[in-house]
Symmetry: C2
Subunit: 210 residues, 2 copies
């Protein structure tokens, strides 16, 4: 594999999609697939698939097709899915609860270990079997359990302060669902921003200007 | 404004972010801003902002700065936020309920008018004040109320069939949260795919190869 830092964001963003497609193929009994077949299923070009795969060492011998199971295993390794990183959720409102309850974190490289909300209204509520904790417990929890990633689902405007506090507690990886873009504000952290309202506005634009 | 079809996806994806930033500035009392100031706040270059804005007609006189309120109004028009398109939600599970309850659809160009789930376990449950309906009611509801967009939050593997049925009922705009990429399968529809598991896998890769 190339140095991960030299692989473009566009390529990195496509790897989970390849992985997802290949898992679907495996469920349907496919054992071997050519880049051409995979390309036509995914609506991309075979050349793009070969170029993308080459960033990670190629995954197989050209002309012979790819072994689906090996490809899945190699991609799982690359994506780090076999290593469960302890992750906490900040914000137990509607969206936070929806995300906590709908994803299979264990299959995606993480383990949800605690849920916090600054609003004491939620304290003690069980979400996915975990009791919602108040912010007062955050410091001690992190000292003892050392979570390394956080999902940010706070609705309020204090995201900046929360991120600052979490970085001091050793968390530098964020899955950010808030309205605040945090990547440029805090250097040295890893962030995936998922701004649902941006996505819906983009859909509005595309529909109304289609 | 240029023909919307000639504006690149990258530019279109940035417009909601500009809009969101500008609304934040307006809440803080800012009335005027230069492209340089906006660029530094958003972590992009002033030249990118000017180029992006030029796709939509420029929005102001170079050298004099932008009037924040006018810019917000023009972007709102471009994004079509003033026109509420009736939208239905398919899938009243954890993620569907989380999305239905956490977004201000009215401010984002849509109105959530009904919720459907194929699982009768959910029938009658109230989500955001709307009763969850069973699939049997879909056809009549669409004939009477003419929704034009759908949020897809089904967990099962029948997304393709659902999309096919919905297109027959006059819905061609989809906000897709399922594991199934539908844009290439059905030509002539408008889709925004939000695949949360892809996003979390990307975060896993970036954290573990950082």
């Amino acid at each position: 594999m190339k140095d991960a830092k030299t692989i473009s964001r566009a390529v990195i963003n496509r790897i989970p999609k390849y992985y997802r497609f290949l898992c679907g193929l495996q469920r349907n009994g496919t054992q071997k697939i050519s880049s051409g077949e995979l390309a036509s299923l995914m609506g991309v070009t075979a050349s793009q698939i070969r170029q993308d795969f080459n960033c990670f060492g190629g995954f197989g011998q050209q002309g012979y097709g790819y072994n689906v199971e090996s490809l899945i295993n190699e991609m799982s390794d690359i994506l780090g899915l076999g290593v469960s990183v302890p992750m906490i959720l900040i914000g137990a409102g509607n969206l936070g609860r929806g995300i906590a309850n709908s994803l299979d974190f264990g299959k995606l490289g993480f383990e949800l270990t605690a849920i916090f909300d600054s609003d004491r209204m939620f304290t003690g509520l069980k979400v996915r079997g975990l009791p919602v904790r108040c912010f007062d417990e955050l410091e001690e929890f992190c000292a003892v359990n050392r979570p390394r990633a956080a999902i940010l689902c706070e609705q309020s405007g204090e995201v900046r302060e929360t991120v600052l506090k979490l970085t001091e507690l050793g968390i530098h990886t964020f899955w950010n669902f808030t309205q605040y873009d945090i990547d440029d504000v805090f250097p040295g952290i890893t962030v995936e921003n998922v701004c649902l309202s941006d996505s819906l506005m983009t859909l509005s634009f595309r529909m109304k200007n289609g």
